[in-house]
């Protein structure tokens, strides 16, 4: 129902929305049933057993005043069972929302006091606006430069806190073309109410046009990352052939890294970010802790570009060219399927070449 001025439901524009709405319907049904039942019973009892005279003393129900174990058990077990259904259903939705599919299209979001800065892999940058293709799994990696914000799109029924000092992840698949509200849902200071934006879900062709048209001229993130890799002097230690004093970065992203002290961690975005800002926290086995911290030398956006660069030198086969000349130009992106509803069609991400 979509009355302009008295809407009851927000638009259902993502793959999660129908599930969340169904759970909402179940919860409303259970709540309405119990609220109305209790109200009716109270009014009925209040009317039926109203006091006739001041000296009227109701006869006690049974010997020890009033109570029946059977009744107590029934109205404990039944609400518990109804509640556990609520728990299970909610947990399943939450678990699905926490595991982004491998083929999701990556977008970087940075919250900053009172604006949303968004970076696409192709290099396009947006403020308070997010252009995404319909029926495509989108994975957002979010962080904040100052306080806690919250990336909330009611139409997608998804929300994730954006916490300074770490990455958080959110994924959805928009299912309906249109424009939807973007709110900041965690109080973040004076302009908290102003930190809003719009999410434009476009069909594939318009998205392509927008991407190449609007965003033309800016190099993809991976290229900016490569340039930064030189500029900040990372290449002096992290040499392509691994002979430098530091670990080789080619093929690092997503691999298992063995640390000094025996722990093994996966090299995801958080690992790389921590190694840039706080290198002494996790030392790779067999290497000396000599890397200086880049805290303050690289902004959040630049760190994201460096991570994209490290991802772009993902597999061994494409490391032949020297890191600087890496050209992850647009032609390498796999053309998007038409606007046929791509129910989970495994579209290749630009990074993982064959």
């Amino acid at each position: 129902m979509d009355w302009k001025y008295l809407p009851i439901f927000p638009e259902s524009a993502s793959n999660f929305a129908p599930h969340v709405d169904a759970l909402y319907a179940y919860l409303v049904a259970v709540s309405a049933f119990f609220s109305i039942a209790i109200a009716v019973v109270i009014v009925a009892f209040a009317y039926k057993y109203q006091r006739k005279s001041d000296s009227e003393i109701p006869v006690p129900l049974n010997e020890h005043g009033a109570g029946s174990m059977l009744l107590e058990i029934t109205w404990s077990v039944i609400p518990l069972l109804l509640s556990l259904v609520m728990f299970g259903w909610g947990a399943i939705i939450f678990f699905n929302e926490s595991k982004p599919p491998a083929d999701a299209m990556e977008i970087w979001v940075t919250g900053k006091q009172w604006m949303w800065k968004i970076q696409h892999l192709e290099g396009t940058r947006e403020i308070n606006e997010l252009h995404i293709p319909v029926n495509r799994n989108i994975r957002l990696t979010l962080t904040s430069e100052d306080v806690i914000h919250d990336f909330f799109v009611p139409a997608f029924r998804t929300k994730t806190d954006v916490v300074p000092g770490r990455y958080t992840t959110e994924w959805f698949r928009p299912t309906k073309v249109g424009q939807y509200h973007l709110f900041c849902a965690e109080y973040c200071g004076t302009k908290h109410s102003g930190m809003v934006g719009t999410v434009y879900v476009m069909n594939a062709a318009d998205y392509e046009a927008w991407l190449t048209g609007g965003g033309a001229g800016t190099a993809p993130m991976a290229d900016k990352g490569a340039a930064l890799f030189q500029e900040l002097g990372c290449v002096t230690c992290h040499q392509a052939d691994g002979k430098g004093r530091s670990p080789k970065l080619a093929g690092l992203y997503g691999s298992r890294v063995e640390l000094k002290g025996g722990a093994v961690v996966t090299a995801d975005a958080s690992y790389i970010r921590e190694s840039i800002l706080n290198p002494l926290a996790k030392i790779v086995n067999g290497y000396e802790p000599i890397m200086p911290t880049f805290q303050g030398l690289a902004t959040e956006d630049q760190i994201q570009q460096l991570i994209e660069y490290v991802k772009s030198i993902g597999t061994k086969s494409n490391v032949a060219a020297s890191p600087g000349a890496e050209k992850a130009g647009p032609e390498q992106r796999i053309p998007l399927p038409g606007n046929a509803p791509a129910k989970g069609v495994p579209a290749k991400t630009p990074g993982a070449q064959q």
Binding site: S98, L142, V163, R166, Y167, T168, T169
Partner: protein, 105 residues
């Protein structure tokens, strides 16, 4: 009313105090020396067991909980129990942050 101890305060013999006192001193010295040996992860466990046993000694004998009504024992146990709730339930988040393998989940 729950009044069941005959005499208001139980007189604890001085010898018990001396014995507990020595145990505490020994405990401190042991904690200190054991910490110098590198047992890896066990250092923390040993240190905490000694500290807990010292604390129990102080509670039972110096604070007379051994001779106090059951209610006092209940208060002590519930205090420790709530502290463990705070520590352990918060740890369910802190320890499982990387299990999912997805940043921030």
């Amino acid at each position: 009313m729950a009044s069941h101890t005959d005499h208001s305060t139980h007189i604890v013999p001085v010898s018990t105090y001396i014995f507990v006192f020595l145990a505490l001193i020994v405990g401190t010295v042991v904690t200190w020396q054991v910490a110098l040996i590198d047992l890896g992860r066990f250092n923390v466990i040993v240190a905490l067991t000694i500290a807990v046993s010292k604390a129990t000694l102080v509670i039972l004998f110096f604070m007379h909980v051994k001779y106090s009504p059951r209610l006092t024992k209940l208060v002590v146990i519930s205090g420790v129990f709530w502290l463990i709730i705070l520590l352990s339930v918060t740890e369910t988040d802190l320890l499982t942050r990387t299990w999912m393998g997805v940043p921030g989940r």
